[in-house]
């Protein structure tokens, strides 16, 4: 965090360079038109000032070619702005497959963050430099927004669903983290910092956590505790390798199993029923915290490949994620 005065925030992510290039283009166009209009106004006002009280303006008629010129040229410039902005936006919406996934939960008025190793932190986010980071975020009360100005990224954190954003930090250092969606009294205090570390430092930092604390391990415990395995695999769909698969619902609709689908199925089980199964699962809304839901989803994700129903045994103790 550079506390000195500057006009442009530091560019500390790969995206920051792209955004700033587009901004520079926009700035040039904007400056050109602003100067053009201001100059014309001043020149006209001086040159055509009323010299005699009874003077009137000269009728110059209509010039349709001029009208079309200043309709078409700005429109073409706008097309460039649109395409450029849209291309970057699409890129921002697609996290790379190898991104390191970190869980974020917003609540009035703090950020709770959990790393794959299970290490947790509040209002701080430690990340390794040079590696794509994907944040999977939700809120347990109102809408928040996870904003890191020096990375030029922002995404609303909405209760009841998962949203994601990703970035690749390029510089070791500390950066502001803000909540940018107004969330009540303590909105301004829902700020913190992002610490970008060297990969080695991050590995050390992340590993500083007791065993058995990884999200999958906690999820597996919950899975046992709530007796999920008594049904899943028998009168309920098997969960092995389910993540990312297509499921057909009783309405005929086909959905892809992703974080949001799993979340809804856990909390509000009867909203979507897999074809061929009775709607017997109770909803766990109000019984599980957002952290617990995230842990369960991590556990379900870890159940890869196995063709047989997951055995009701604990997975190997919580090591690093696969």
């Amino acid at each position: 965090m550079n506390n000195g005065f500057h006009l442009v925030p530091p560019r500390a992510s790969t995206m920051a360079y792209h955004i700033d290039s587009l901004v520079l283009f926009l700035l040039c166009v904007t400056a050109f038109f602003t100067i053009l209009i201001f100059t014309l106004i001043i020149v006209f006002v001086v040159k055509y000032r009323r010299k005699h009280p009874s003077d009137i303006g000269k009728n110059i008629g209509d010039h349709h070619w001029l009208e079309w010129t200043w309709i078409i040229i700005p429109s073409l410039i706008e097309v460039v702005m649109f395409v450029w902005g849209a291309a970057l936006y699409i890129r921002m919406s697609r996290p790379p497959a190898n991104a390191l996934e970190i869980q974020v939960i917003g609540k009035q008025w703090m950020w709770k963050i959990q790393h794959p190793s299970g290490r947790k932190e509040i209002d701080e986010l430690h990340v390794p430099v040079g590696r794509p980071i994907k944040l999977v975020m939700t809120s347990q009360d109102v809408i928040h927004s996870f904003f890191i100005p020096d990375f030029r990224i922002k995404q609303d954190v909405v209760p009841g669903r998962y949203s994601t954003e990703w970035f690749t930090p390029t510089q070791i250092g500390q950066y502001h983290l803000f909540c940018s969606e107004y969330c009540g009294t303590g909105h301004a205090s829902m700020a913190g910092r992002v610490v970008v570390m060297s990969p080695g430092d991050y590995a050390k930092w992340e590993a500083d956590v007791p065993l058995d604390q990884s999200p999958e391990a906690s999820g597996a415990k919950l899975f046992l505790q709530y007796g999920c395995m008594t049904c899943h695999g028998q009168q309920a769909p098997s969960l092995a390798g389910i993540y990312g698969r297509q499921q057909t619902m009783s309405t005929g609709e086909v959905v892809t199993v992703d974080d949001n689908y799993l979340r809804e199925s856990i909390l509000n089980s009867r909203a979507k029923i897999v074809a061929g199964y009775p709607p017997v699962m109770p909803g766990y809304q109000g019984q599980l915290s957002e952290e617990q839901v995230m842990d369960l989803i991590s556990y379900i994700k870890s159940l890869k490949g196995a063709a047989t129903p997951p055995a009701p045994n604990l997975p190997q103790n919580g090591g690093s994620p696969p």
Partner: protein, 561 residues
């Protein structure tokens, strides 16, 4: 199209009928009036009150932000202040300002009509406005509301402990006031035009006000139903928007912005209406590209309904929705650009006189240009991700709303003041405060663009110390701006009683509203005017009689009339 100045069959009415101000002096004659001109003055007083109220909130906000820790107000109080500022300024000043005061006052006269089509409805509309306003003021006195003017769910429906329902009710009621005003204007424009006043002979003020009215009638009901749903969820705790209860908070945003984006154009179109009138009058020239300006107003009204999603690029709506809304937002920028270019071209070879209204209008064109162009940053999806919900957005919409709309409102007051009160104001003070406002405004809001780009989020009561310099500049600018707004309040109030008497048409404008006495008689015209020409035809005015053009109001001011 050739346009020629309107010519009335009888330019000046006979002196025998009393003007509208003298037509009864009792309180009842004002509170139960159905005269559109008196209702306009009732609105003028009411929205001035709300403007002062919103301005006080703004002052407290700026003072609080002078230090990074926000020492003046507590976080909760600060949140109530910016909510109050937003709610009051949007619904009780900007949206009603030009339509209800100047639309009411001059629209019927521009059409050559005796009144609006539904005078009683017009009065009802003012009472609804006051009724809605009192709910909001009551909420403020009871402790205020802290949701932000956007009432985002689920904060507003389940988490805020403030008077959400009172304020929402106030806005709901005021919405119906807007709808009735819009309805009245639409019907009046369609059915009450004087003989010979065809659509393409209408002053551009009428076109713009008509476009505004369409938005008022079609967008406001959606806001009403949305706010009603917020109240239902808040009272009965049934999840319409709160996901914890089974609702969808993004739906609220869609519904809210379906109204509130068109509402932005409710606020700026009337400003554009005023610009077209004044820029022609003080250049003594036909507007450049009449039909392009007229159709630009209508296209803005239509496209404004299709761009609401650009407020939600980071809300979690689909990427494809983002692409569509971004493209449409670029399209809606085109008609605004057309207008700016046409106004500038109107100055070319004009006969330009920089009286107070014109100074404000030139300020409008410049500031609106900056405001509009910075909108292009926000429409560019990837850039919006960085600057949305920061001070960049705050600066952008204040350039449009204050730099644009309030400038136009000030211009309108100074332009039609002689018509409304039959008196002139001190020109020197007028020009001085116009400059003060221009300088103060830029100093207040330009630093906020930089603040936003640096990443300062909006609605923050405290901020990191490196943002202080820009915030102090902004606060300093706001103090100058405040002086600029207080001055006209003083000298205009003074001039109502003590200003020199104005001739019927001090600016030698061509509009029908100037072809009657100042102040006008109760029925506006002694004889319904017959229009044979289009607006802004200065050559004909000059041909009619050269002498009146020689008498500028300043000459009158110096030599007793």
């Amino acid at each position: 199209m050739t346009l020629i100045a309107p010519e009335t069959s009888s330019p000046l009415p006979l002196e025998h009928s009393p003007n509208y101000l003298e037509d009864g002096f009792s309180v009842k004659s004002w509170l139960l009036t159905t005269d559109h001109k008196r209702i306009a003055l009732l609105y003028l007083v009411s929205i001035t009150f709300f403007f002062v109220l919103g301005g006080i909130a703004a002052t407290l906000i700026r003072l609080d932000l002078a230090t990074p820790e926000g020492d003046l107000l507590k976080a909760g109080t600060y949140n109530r202040m910016f909510t109050l500022h937003g709610v009051i300024m949007v619904w009780f000043f900007l949206i009603p300002s030009i339509p209800t005061v100047f639309g009411n006052f001059v629209l019927p006269m521009m059409l050559g009509a005796r009144d609006l089509a539904f005078p009683k409805l017009n009065l009802l509309s003012w009472y609804l406005f006051i009724f809605g306003g009192s709910f909001t003021v009551l909420a403020m006195l009871l402790g205020g509301v802290d949701t932000g003017w956007t009432f985002y769910a689920p904060l507003s429906t389940g988490f805020s402990n403030s008077h959400v329902i009172l304020v929402v009710t106030g806005v709901f009621i005021t919405g119906f006031s807007s709808i009735l005003t819009g309805l009245n204007f639409i019907v009046t424009t369609h059915t009450m035009r004087a003989p010979g006043l065809t659509w393409f002979r209408l002053p551009l003020f009428v076109w713009s006000t008509y476009a505004t009215s369409i938005i008022l009638v079609l967008a406001t009901p959606v806001l009403a139903i949305t706010l009603a749903l917020v109240a239902v969820e808040r009272i009965f705790h049934i999840g319409i928007f709160d996901p914890a209860l089974g609702g969808d908070p993004i739906l609220f945003q869609h519904l809210f912005w379906f109204y509130s984006h068109p509402a932005v154009y409710i606020m700026i179109l009337p400003g554009m209406a005023v610009v077209s009138e004044i820029v022609t009058c003080f250049s003594r020239k036909q507007i450049f590209g009449y039909s392009f300006v007229a159709y630009a107003s209508i296209s803005i009204a239509i496209v404004s309904f299709l761009v609401w999603g650009h407020h939600m690029f980071v809300s979690g709506q689909s990427v494809y929705a983002g692409l569509v809304f971004s493209l449409l937002s670029y399209i809606v920028a085109v008609p605004s650009a057309i207008k700016v270019f046409n106004w500038t071209a109107t100055l070319y070879k004009g006969s330009i006189q920089l009286d107070t209204p014109m100074l404000y209008i030139l300020g409008f064109i410049g500031l609106f240009t900056i405001g509009g162009l910075t909108g292009l940053f926000l429409a560019a999806l990837a850039v919006d991700v960085h600057v949305t919900d920061t001070y960049f957005v705050v600066a952008h919409f204040h350039y449009i709303m204050v730099g644009g709309m309030v400038m136009a409102y000030m211009a309108a007051i100074h332009y039609w003041f002689p018509k409304m009160f039959g008196r002139l104001y001190p020109e020197w003070w007028g020009r001085f405060s116009a400059f003060t406002i221009f300088i103060g405004f830029n100093l207040t809001f330009f630093p906020q663009f930089i603040l936003g780009y640096l990443g300062m989020p909006r609605r923050y009561h405290a901020y990191p110390p490196e943002f202080q310099l820009l915030n102090v500049l902004s606060t300093a600018g706001a103090s100058i701006l405040a002086v600029g707004y207080v001055l006209p309040l003083i000298y205009l109030t003074w001039s109502m009683k003590y200003g020199p008497k104005s001739p019927p048409n001090p600016w030698h404008a061509t509009g029908l509203e100037w072809q009657t006495t100042s102040p006008p008689p109760k029925d506006n015209f002694e004889v319904t005017p017959i229009v044979t020409r289009g607006p802004y035809d200065y050559p004909s005015l000059k041909a009619q009689n050269d002498a009146p053009l020689n008498l500028s109001p300043h000459l009158l001011e110096e030599a007793p009339a």
